[in-house]
């Protein structure tokens, strides 16, 4: 992988992680968390871990996010921090 | 071909769990017999393993037929066979004892409950028997995950919350352990315990190995609730349903102590732990703190369940201290205490279960006069209490004796002082309760009473396990010598303490 692309994804991963824990709305957290998982999966695919990346794409970015949204739907979007 | 006992040990409860879960949709009455059968088979396998492991030294079982560094192997020595036997006995007895309580409390979901319970026990067996570092993590997670679910079943108000807190801390613990395994893997390239132990000596000076050791230990300590890391334990054990806390309280922490011993002895090696690192003194101080803090906090409680939870925190300090004193006596004391403490805690929580079956709560006010109504239960309580205090004919005395001798030999006088002090505090604790239960008149609100308003004894199906455990408290005390000769001596023969 080109190092420019690598660096870009690395920055996005950290940005998404920080945003997911600091944004003040749980639904946004869910979406940012999905984005974080997807960026992570790209990173792993770049390192040649295709199976792990595939799993993370289907689990982390897919099903986990859906669970998360379902849980937010059943509870609340409100958060103080 | 090897014996199939190691595979049978894991598979019997695992398959029984699957069947239980299937039966919960089909024919619920079959769930309990299936669970009972599964645990009986693994009890037999455990007995077989103990008998084989004594003379043979180590029993190996290669999963999938692949030889060790490539595949996963099970390695069972005399010590792990002993721990496995304790797990099998306690899980089976608790299953039998809690049947009525589970039927009453869980109503329409007891089939699923039994499935989760069996998976929990499977995980404990696996953690004890496995010879692979990563397999240990997976099984640890099974145990924890089922543990969270079981604890959350309890007391509607606080159960889920304390379970979620336990989950957060448990995940941190397990992840720390996984990090430690990762550091070991990056430095050695292997995951098999024996293989790692073989590859480690040239790397002893490396800081990565040091960090691997620290993180493995931190993870395990979090899981076993060593003093500053114990915050999850009291709430989780207090608000769990009685049928669950009875099996989690005696087994979970003790198995973690065993895992710690296993990592110290078979993976990192004693030479590394006691000679390369200068941590022994620090950890013994930590253990001393744990013993004292647990005892003092237990003194402050007005609820029996909370009190017992803090007693467990204190007992963990005994075992960790004993294992880290770095002499044979200390190790003997620690292993004996694993056995004894599992039995004592089990007896205490059986008593709790019986009381909770009849009483509304177990704060001190509720206990007034319970001796009159429930003489057998309270007799068991007295015996377990004496054992925790360490009064001679009971088993608690012998492990404490070994630990005190070991502390004197190693020159860890603060540890000895803490042991004596905590025994005194325990004496105060238990005699205070016995006084309340024996002398004070029953209060007006004593829960489930019989026709004439009297408190009734717990059902026989719950008393028999209590009786058996109480007898074993005495029997293990009498046969402590043969445990030392039959189990601990062979183990120390394999891994001599420098």
């Amino acid at each position: 992988m080109h190092w420019q692309l690598d660096l870009f994804i690395l920055t996005l991963v950290i940005f998404c992680a920080l945003a997911a824990i600091s944004v003040k709305d749980l639904l946004s957290t869910a979406i940012l968390f999905g984005a974080y998982s997807f960026m992570m999966c790209l990173l792993w695919a770049g390192m040649g871990a295709v199976d792990v990346a595939f799993t993370e794409a289907s689990v982390g970015a897919g099903v986990s996010t859906v669970f998360f949204v379902a849980a937010v739907f059943r509870t609340t979007r409100r958060t103080k921090d | 071909m090897n014996s199939v006992a190691p595979a049978l040990l894991i598979l019997a409860p695992f398959l029984a769990a699957l069947l239980c879960s299937a039966f919960s949709w089909l024919e619920r009455r079959l769930c309990f017999p299936t669970a009972l059968l599964g645990l009986c088979v693994s009890l037999l396998a455990a007995l077989d393993l103990l008998l084989q492991a004594g003379p043979a030294g180590v029993i190996q079982y290669k999963m999938g037929g692949w030889s060790p560094p490539f595949g996963i192997e099970y390695r069972i020595d005399a010590l792990s066979a002993l721990v496995i036997l304790i797990i099998a006995c306690i899980a089976l007895l608790n299953l039998a004892a809690s049947h009525r309580q589970v039927l009453r409390d869980m109503q329409d979901r007891f089939g699923t409950f039994y499935a989760v319970y069996l998976l929990f026990v499977t995980g404990l067996f696996g953690v004890t028997a496995t010879g692979d570092l990563f397999n240990l993590y997976v099984l640890l997670e099974i145990t924890s995950l089922t543990g969270y679910a079981l604890i959350a079943m309890g007391d509607g108000d606080r159960g889920p919350l304390s379970s979620l807190n336990y989950l957060f801390i448990g995940v941190i613990g397990a992840s720390f352990y996984l990090l430690g395994v990762g550091y070991l893997y990056i430095m050695t390239g292997s995951l098999n315990m024996v293989d790692v132990a073989r590859l480690l000596p040239p790397l002893y000076g490396s800081s990565a190995i040091l960090v691997a050791f620290v993180f493995c230990m931190l993870g395990i300590w979090i899981k076993m609730a060593l003093f500053p890391l114990h915050v999850w334990l009291p709430n989780a054990y207090t608000y769990a349903p009685a049928a669950v806390s009875r099996v989690i309280a005696p087994l979970m922490t003790k198995v973690m102590v065993y895992v710690m011993i296993r990592l110290m002895f078979t993976v990192f090696g004693l030479e590394y732990v006691f000679e390369q690192l200068d941590l022994s003194r620090t950890v013994v101080w930590l253990a001393t703190l744990a013993v004292l803090a647990g005892a003092v906090m237990a003194l402050a409680q007005r609820d029996l369940r909370k009190m017992f939870s803090y007693v467990i925190v204190s007992e963990i300090g005994y075992m960790v201290g004993g294992a880290w004193l770095g002499n044979e006596l200390g190790f003997t004391g620690a292993v004996l205490h694993i056995l004894n403490d599992a039995l004592m805690t089990f007896a205490l929580f059986l008593v709790l279960g019986n009381l909770l079956f009849r009483l509304r709560g177990v704060s001190f006010e509720d206990l007034r006069g319970s001796f009159v109504g429930m003489p057998w239960t309270m007799a068991g309580f007295v015996l377990a209490g004496l054992s925790i205090i360490g009064v001679p004919p009971t088993c608690g005395f012998f492990s404490k004796w070994y630990l005190i001798l070991a502390g004197l030999e190693a020159g860890a006088y603060q540890f000895v002082a803490a042991l004596v002090l905590s025994s005194l505090i325990c004496a105060v604790l238990f005699f205070r309760i016995i006084e309340i239960a024996f002398f004070e008149a029953p209060g007006p609100s004593s829960g489930d009473t019989g026709q004439n308003g009297q408190l009734r004894e717990a059902p026989v199906s719950m008393l028999i396990p209590l009786g058996l455990v109480s007898i074993s408290l005495l029997a293990v005390g009498v046969y402590a010598g043969s445990v030392v000769r039959g189990v601990i001596a062979p183990f120390l023969g394999l891994y001599p303490i420098p």
């Binding site: 824990i21 792993w44 295709v50 792990v52 993370e56 509870t75 958060t79 | -």
Partner: protein
């Protein structure tokens, strides 16, 4: 200076995982909202997975699927396979398991969060504690 730079380039993936781990752990300890803590937990777990995947990486090697295995039929004795050509598959296997464990934990934790919300009508830890003490 060049020395330091090569050092950074050689290890930056390990550093990245440490940063992510710190973010996750910090969120788990400090955040007040239970679901936020859960997100922290997941970031913590993925950072460890990133660490393991980084262990497996090998320069000049390709993904761990043997090429041209189809044509030679099963058994593949004729095929010359060199370890240097393929990435180490073992960490990938371990991390597949770890991902599964993390999603299982996540599911159970969300179920617990829903249950807690039903009981207390809030997900904030301090508000729950307030309700408990008021009773």
């Amino acid at each position: 200076m060049v020395d330091l730079l090569t050092h950074i380039v050689a290890k930056y993936n390990y550093w990245l995982y440490i940063i992510l781990m710190m973010i996750g752990l910090y969120a788990m300890i400090v955040k007040n909202n239970l679901v936020k803590k859960l997100v922290g937990m997941n970031i913590f777990q993925t950072s460890i997975i990133l660490f393991f995947v980084s262990i497996g990486y090998k320069k000049g090697a390709t993904i761990p699927i043997i090429e041209n295995a189809h044509g030679n039929g099963h058994g593949g004795k004729q095929l010359l396979i060199r370890a240097a050509d393929y990435i180490n598959p073992l960490p990938h296997v371990l991390m597949l398991t770890a991902i599964v464990v993390s999603v299982a934990t996540f599911g159970v934790a969300l179920a617990l969060a829903v249950k807690i919300y039903q009981r207390y009508q809030t997900l904030e830890e301090d508000e729950i504690r307030m309700r408990l003490t008021r009773k």
